[in-house]
């Protein structure tokens, strides 16, 4: 039995009449990279909202390291070691880049500043320390948002389409960081549309459609199945993918 | 206890409905502005008072009956609203809600104190249409009846305008999908000017009728904006008809609290209702998840 750090069971979320999640199960192996794909509106972001505690209107169960976190407030989930980024970047516009990072450190972390500087240096953004978040390009904002969640050394990181709107250079930097951190033991769950990235990074992939997990497979089954490149239509593609 | 006699209850209900209609006329304008422009106009009740003072001036200096002065005051305030939107309010559209709150708070401070400078702080009213219609044991005050019925008619006229006419549909389109509206060739800025002008004109109409019922001073707006907020939060922010129902509801609740308790507590009812609703549903009674 594999060691699962994040276990999602029967998560259901209804908005008015729309059932955005219809009982989703997810098992994330410690130290792995798990991909989530699916057409727009299939509930991927909603799933992250629920897991991270931003959306507390769901039912079901979310266990992080054996502890129930469904219904917990986001700051608490974060302090438990689960961090996430947003689909549309949310840096703090009137805070400097350095402040953007430091605020995400643990409260009594004396080394926060030096850690922030070190992270910025790693992605070659050190010249931007004192620049306001709003003055960064969109790609830089996404990267800063990613560095921000690293400040607390989380054990699980959820990334919601982290490469969308990012230029190829910064995109490469981002994936390198993910690989590097994963090598050090951090678990990732990534929503991503680019199948090359998925097959390159992820050990396991979930396909979500209309709020349901319609397929789940290993990296190889994803890589060899050409249909999964056209997942945006659900019905037929889903059956072939699952086959 | 005599208070529980059916006639008294009916009397209170009717009084509440009539006052509530006036609130509804006032609040639906505020909600229209919020729905279309995403601006909370704290100065909205000041436009009601603008209407009231204009009617008072016309009455005192030209002996114009308030019901007649509606035809002068409402277009005038419409024009003022049009210009004000163009020059001021347009700048806060699309900015954070708190910016528009602070900006219109500024407008409200200016209008209240301008009112104090011009009219001083004593209470005014226009004693017209005095007396009551007596039906059996019921007595319905004439000015309240006229004001209440007119308020309902005006509110529904605006509602029909929004529902039926091309221009009204354009207003609703801007409220629901500003971007799509732009693409469809709607002049969004003109629609906003129209919306704001229409809303403050509705407030002014309420103000004109107010002159026959209440005595008012330049500070009276504070009570009314409080009621308006309670109403639109109860009825759903941005929801035109919701504001109508909310207004009528508040009027009735106030009438009963005033009837059974004291008038001063009736004044606080709006606030307590507002706080209560916000506590039960921190985003108001109807969906407005998009309000940041």
């Amino acid at each position: 039995m594999a060691d699962h750090i994040l276990v999602v069971r029967g998560v259901r979320r209804v908005f008015g009449g729309v059932e955005a999640l219809k009982g989703v199960d997810l098992d994330v192996v410690r130290g792995s990279v798990t991909g989530i794909i699916g057409p727009n509106g299939s509930g991927k972001t909603t799933l992250f909202q629920v897991i991270s505690g931003m959306d507390r209107g769901a039912t079901g169960s979310v266990m992080l390291d054996g502890r129930e976190i469904l219904g917990c407030r986001p700051y608490f989930v974060y302090q438990c070691g689960l961090a996430r980024t947003f689909q549309l970047s949310r840096v703090f516009p009137q805070l400097t880049v350095l402040e953007n990072l430091i605020v995400a450190a643990r409260r009594h972390d004396r080394g926060a500043r030096s850690r922030a500087l070190e992270l910025l240096e790693r992605v070659k953004l050190e010249a931007y320390n004192e620049v306001l978040g709003s003055d960064l390009s969109y790609g830089q904002q996404r990267l800063v948002e990613f560095l921000r969640v690293l400040m607390s050394d989380p054990s699980v990181i959820l990334l919601d389409e982290p490469a969308a709107g990012v230029n190829p250079t910064l995109r490469a930097t981002l994936w390198d960081m993910v690989r590097h951190l994963n090598g050090l033991g951090t678990t990732f769950v990534i929503i991503e549309h680019n199948m090359d990235v998925i097959s390159d990074l992820c050990q396991e992939v979930y396909v979500l459609s209309e709020g349901e997990v319609i397929a789940r497979g290993s990296r190889r089954s994803v890589a060899t199945n050409s249909c999964s490149r056209r997942i945006s239509g659900s019905g037929a593609a889903h059956e072939r993918f699952a086959a | 206890m005599a208070l529980f006699e059916p006639t008294i209850l009916l009397q209170l209900l009717i009084a509440g409905l009539l006052t509530g209609s006036l609130y509804a006329l006032l609040a639906s304008g505020l909600n229209l502005v919020f729905g279309v422009m995403r601006v909370i106009n704290i100065a909205h009740a000041e436009f009601m008072l603008l209407g009231a003072y204009l009617a008072w001036v016309l009455y005192v200096y030209a002996n114009v009956h308030p019901l007649l002065s509606l035809f002068i005051v409402v277009p005038a305030v419409f024009g003022i609203g049009w210009v004000l939107e163009r020059t001021l309010i347009e700048h806060v559209v699309g900015r954070p809600l708190l910016t528009s709150l602070l900006a219109t708070y500024g407008v409200s401070i200016i209008m209240v104190n301008a009112g104090l400078l011009v009219f001083a702080s004593d209470f005014k009213s226009v004693p017209q249409l005095q007396g009551a219609i007596v039906i059996g044991e019921l007595a319905i005050s004439k000015p309240r009846l006229v004001a209440g019925v007119l308020a309902v008619i005006l509110t529904f006229a605006v509602y029909l305008f929004l529902e039926i006419t091309r221009l009204g549909k354009a207003v609703r389109a801007v409220a629901e999908h500003p971007h799509v509206a732009t693409i469809c060739g709607i002049d969004v800025q003109r629609i906003r000017m129209l919306t704001f002008a229409l809303a403050v004109a509705m407030a002014a109409a309420a103000g004109v009728m107010l002159t026959m019922i209440y005595s008012f001073s330049p500070d009276t707006g504070a009570d009314f904006i409080q009621k308006c907020f309670a109403i639109i939060i109860i009825g759903g922010m941005g929801n035109f008809l919701g504001a109508f129902y909310g207004g009528v509801l508040l009027g009735v609740v106030e009438a009963f609290v005033g009837g059974f308790g004291t008038t001063q507590w009736a004044e606080a009812v709006a606030y307590l209702l507002l706080v209560l609703v916000l506590l039960i549903r921190p985003t108001g009674l109807k969906g407005m998840a998009d309000v940041k």
Binding site: S89, V91, L95, V103, A127, G139 | G106, V275
Partner: protein, 319 residues
């Protein structure tokens, strides 16, 4: 921001001048300075919650009024004036904890709407509770109970300094950083571990204590209080305008704003109170529209020297 040395030096000069003022100034100017310092304290209080967290309070005069009434009720019972001051702060504290707990769950605009009516309700409440408060006719304090003008002045001076020191300490602390993150994006702040509920409540309670104490001092200095004066809308207006004018969320903005507005009032507007408030409205409107950062934004040398590293085409979000 001003450089650290410059602000410390100017603060020191200001404090020394204000400390020796009673020795030099006549009663009229001392009384003016007392009011000025009161406005500094009130502005800093509003700054603590609204400037720092972006939760705009239209009802902070309530705490001021509560502080005034607490002192006015206790002084005649023989309670020493300094204890009345503490009582004023405590009453504000006792009100702010449950109130903040309830209202701060509301996001920005709803909070503003909920606070807008508070002052009015407090006024009705105090007016109706005639047995305790004397209702609309207010409470007059006999002069022998009251501290001297110089004492009032120094007390107000201490409150203003304390308020400014609190704001400065918050501004430069981790707590302040968290509050600013809440102002920028509350959801994102919570998602990076900021306990927003606790932080907002702490800021709210701090911002209520100061007006509570200042209100207590004011009543000792005017020796009379009634509901209209204690819960005057003008107090709310002045607090907000001074902070917005000077620069909200900054340490020196409220001091600057209070100084300039009170100075202008003394020189030009004293004769016409309505015109004074009207001009404050114009000021607020202009600042909100044209100078959202307030005067402090003019001093701030924003670091716009953007490095040339990523001179390539700007990336755009693609969906």
């Amino acid at each position: 921001m001003l450089s650290k040395h410059a602000s410390l030096a100017s603060a020191a000069v200001l404090v020394v001048i204000l400390a020796v003022a009673p020795a030099v100034l006549g009663e009229y100017y001392l009384s003016f300075l007392t009011q000025l310092l009161m406005m500094v304290a009130l502005a800093q209080a509003w700054n603590t919650i609204s400037g720092m967290t972006g939760y705009v309070s239209f009802g902070h005069a309530t705490f001021f009024g509560m502080g005034s009434y607490a002192a006015a009720l206790l002084l005649p019972l023989g309670v020493p004036w300094w204890a009345c001051l503490i009582a004023g702060a405590l009453v504000a504290l006792a009100l702010s904890v449950p109130l903040g707990f309830l209202t701060l769950r509301l996001r920005g605009p709803y909070f503003a709407i909920a606070m807008l009516g508070l002052n009015e309700v407090a006024r009705v409440f105090v007016t109706l509770w005639v047995d305790l408060t004397g209702g609309g006719s207010g409470i007059t304090l006999s002069p022998e109970l009251l501290p001297s003008l110089t004492t009032s002045y120094y007390t107000m001076f201490l409150i203003a300094v304390a308020a400014t020191v609190i704001v400065a300490a918050i501004y430069h602390s981790r707590f302040g950083l968290e509050l600013r993150a809440i102002r920028e994006d509350e959801g994102a702040a919570e998602m990076v571990g900021v306990n927003t509920t606790r932080d907002k409540l702490a800021a709210f309670v701090l911002s209520a204590l100061i007006p509570g104490a200042a209100g207590a001092v004011l009543v000792m200095y005017t020796s009379y209080i009634d509901p209209a004066a204690a819960f005057a809308p003008a107090v709310n207006i002045q607090m907000i305008v001074m902070v917005m004018f000077g620069g909200s969320g900054t340490v020196w903005g409220p001091v600057l704003g209070a100084g300039l507005v009170m100075g202008l009032r003394e020189v030009f507007w004293a004769e016409f109170p309505a015109a004074h408030l009207m001009l404050l409205g114009v000021l607020l409107l202009s600042v909100v529209l044209f100078l959202p950062g307030g005067l402090m934004a003019l001093f701030t040398r924003r670091k716009l020297v953007r490095p040339e590293v990523a001179a390539g085409p700007q990336e755009r979000p693609d969906g």
